[in-house]
């Protein structure tokens, strides 16, 4: 298993931050997931080995956190917030619009592997609702029209 140099330097630095090795687990899993898109069996075994944990202990933690996934997702994970503040300003309609536009349901991935869709809980953009996160990027004050433009922008990112 080979991670990027950036991952490795962050990992070894983080190990010096805590009195126990295990403490690096949660952020490390997220950074590891970002390297390949999901937490594969190989990654889980690797991280468990590095932190002197059993794979079961690592999986137990993975299943708790909503951002961690053991299944591959699309290149762009479109996360639509429908929690109260977004709901009041059209978050549910935005999710529906994305479902139609992408032709997939909640947690589905388009057949070209480009987009995944996910209904998420509050992402901390309440005053700029409705809001969406694509991977880690926030997009706010959206309408179905501006959402279309946004998806188009991401689609173009892969052709160039």
């Amino acid at each position: 298993m080979r991670f990027s140099d950036q991952f490795e330097s962050r990992f070894s630095e983080m190990l010096t931050h805590y009195p126990t090795k295990r403490s690096v687990l949660v952020p490390t899993l997220l950074y590891a997931q970002d390297e390949v898109g999901y937490l594969s069996d190989e990654i889980i075994a690797e991280i468990a080995g590095r932190l002197d944990l059993t794979e079961l202990e690592v999986r137990n933690v993975i299943s708790y956190y909503s951002m961690l996934t053991t299944k591959p997702r699309g290149k762009f994970n479109v996360q639509v917030c429908t929690n109260i503040a977004c709901m009041l300003r059209g978050g549910e309609e935005l999710l529906e619009h994305c479902e139609q536009k992408l032709g997939v349901g909640n947690k589905g991935t388009t057949s070209d592997g480009l987009f995944s869709l996910e209904e998420v809980e509050c992402i901390g953009a309440c005053s700029w609702a409705p809001a969406v996160q694509v991977n880690y990027d926030f997009h706010e004050n959206l309408t179905p029209e501006t959402m279309d433009g946004l998806l188009e922008e991401y689609r173009r990112k892969t052709t160039h």
């Binding site: 949660v26 956190y65 059209g90 004050n141």
Partner: protein
């Protein structure tokens, strides 16, 4: 990047450096940065605690406990290291203020952590930022590196002979982790399951050592209190509710945004003056005053001062500063259902009243909103919620029960209007038609 707003009634303390480029360390130093730490280094630890105590600063995460008092619970002597833990796992629906602090003024949080450490005799701090806030985690990682490079952190800070380390930490998506004991579990690399108290974190916290856990906004207020003085800060607010607060206005208001207003600011004024009122000439149905866990106030109850004690008396809570405004076209049953869907999703499953209670409430509300509600469901939901209160390790169970009880008590008629096969009376207007003017 979240956009900033302003209003003449604002008093800028925590947000003073927003939009001023203060993520840059040189710029931060120009704007009085790290002066508070230098002042604190010359003070006795007990004096720092006293200043914070008498400033009337209360926990901005939602519980509203006096911060200085919390610090004073940390034992002076401890065989294990003491820790400062900044809670930046902001995830209470309606709340988006810590995000702005991390984006615009990360060094203020670092400064707050150091000062807290000096006050309680700790030499290590952690700043926990939720996983979704990746760009903020990157800003924080850079800010910490800059501070180390300049000798503001690490060995012998400011040539004082004292050492202090601050590290960042990241989450991976979990509301429950915003609860202090679950936060420590998460930082220790485990599932975010709450710990039973006592012992409280001030005595037994991270890795068994005494730990102070404060919200990011609380810690970002500390440098200003040290520099401006306890009296100045206390006088900004109302008695026992010192200072200002970042209020996150959202929902059906003309000008949503994060506004820094003095503690005790009138809620009605906040909605109609600061927020510009309800769009489309509609009437107000209610306001959730402090994030989704706080009981709703009806349109008749909003002439109140927004401080911890007044809202408690009004039967709600100031909570985390998330003010969610609902106009008259909002279906309360639907709103209650969405709120419960959230708590059911986020319940960690450790305590049965919360795990089962949120699930039953969600299922009942789904059926209810779809027109399959029975008359007895209304009282059952209330009774079920009542029995979740105070019966769990952490307050997530309460957070789900309290708003539900208020929805039923204050809007019973709306529940009755959904009974037995009747379609939702609000459904003919979809949220899109109800939308205020959007950018």
């Amino acid at each position: 990047m979240a956009s900033l707003v302003s209003h003449p009634d604002e008093i800028r303390v925590v947000s003073r450096r927003f939009g001023q480029g203060a993520t840059n360390l040189d710029r931060y130093l120009e704007l009085d940065g790290y002066k508070a730490v230098q002042k604190a280094l010359s003070m006795q630890p007990d004096d720092i605690v006293d200043v914070v105590k008498s400033s009337g600063l209360r926990g901005r995460g939602g519980a509203g406990f006096n911060t200085g008092l919390k610090w004073s619970f940390v034992p002076k002597q401890s065989p294990k290291p003491k820790y400062i833990l900044c809670n930046g796992d902001e995830s209470e629906p309606g709340t988006c203020k810590d995000r702005l602090i991390f984006e615009h003024d990360p060094h203020a949080v670092i400064e707050g952590v150091i000062i807290a450490g000096l006050a309680v005799g700790s030499t290590t701090g952690y700043i926990y930022i939720r996983g979704e806030y990746r760009y903020l985690s990157e800003i924080m990682q850079k800010s910490l590196a800059d501070a180390y490079a300049r000798g503001l952190l690490g060995k012998n800070i400011f040539g004082s002979g004292r050492d202090f380390d601050v590290y960042w930490h990241g989450g991976a998506g979990a509301y429950e982790v915003g609860e202090e004991s679950a936060l420590m579990e998460s930082l220790e690399g485990k599932r975010g399951i709450p710990r039973i108290r006592p012992p409280f974190p001030a005595v037994v916290g991270l890795w068994g050592g005494p730990t102070v856990i404060n919200n990011a906004e609380t810690l970002a207020s500390i440098p200003h209190i040290i520099l401006g003085g306890a009296e100045w800060f206390a006088n900004l607010g109302t008695p026992k509710n010192g200072g200002t607060r970042l209020f996150c206005l959202s929902g059906h208001v003309e000008r949503p945004g994060v506004y820094e207003l003095p503690m005790g600011y009138n809620l009605k004024k906040m909605i109609y003056d600061v927020g510009g009122g309800i769009p489309n000439g509609r009437g107000l149905k209610g306001v959730v005053p402090g994030g989704s866990s706080t009981p709703i106030l009806t349109a008749d109850e909003i002439d109140v001062a927004m401080d911890f004690d007044t809202l408690m008396k009004a039967g709600s809570m100031l909570g985390s500063g998330g003010v969610v405004v609902l106009d008259e076209t909002t279906c309360i049953v639907k709103f209650a259902l969405r709120t419960m869907k959230f708590y059911q999703h986020e319940s960690c499953g450790w305590c049965i009243p919360c795990r089962e209670g949120t699930d039953w409430l969600k299922k009942t509300l789904i059926r209810f909103h779809a027109g399959g509600g029975l008359k007895k469901d209304i009282d059952n939901m209330y009774y079920l919620s009542e029995n979740m209160l105070g019966r769990t390790f952490c307050p997530l169970g309460d957070a789900a029960a309290m708003p539900t009880m208020a929805f039923i008590k204050k809007f019973r008629k709306e529940f009755e209007d959904h009974l037995e096969g009747r379609p939702c009376p609000f459904e003919e207007l979809g949220a899109v038609e109800q939308l205020p003017v959007m950018a």
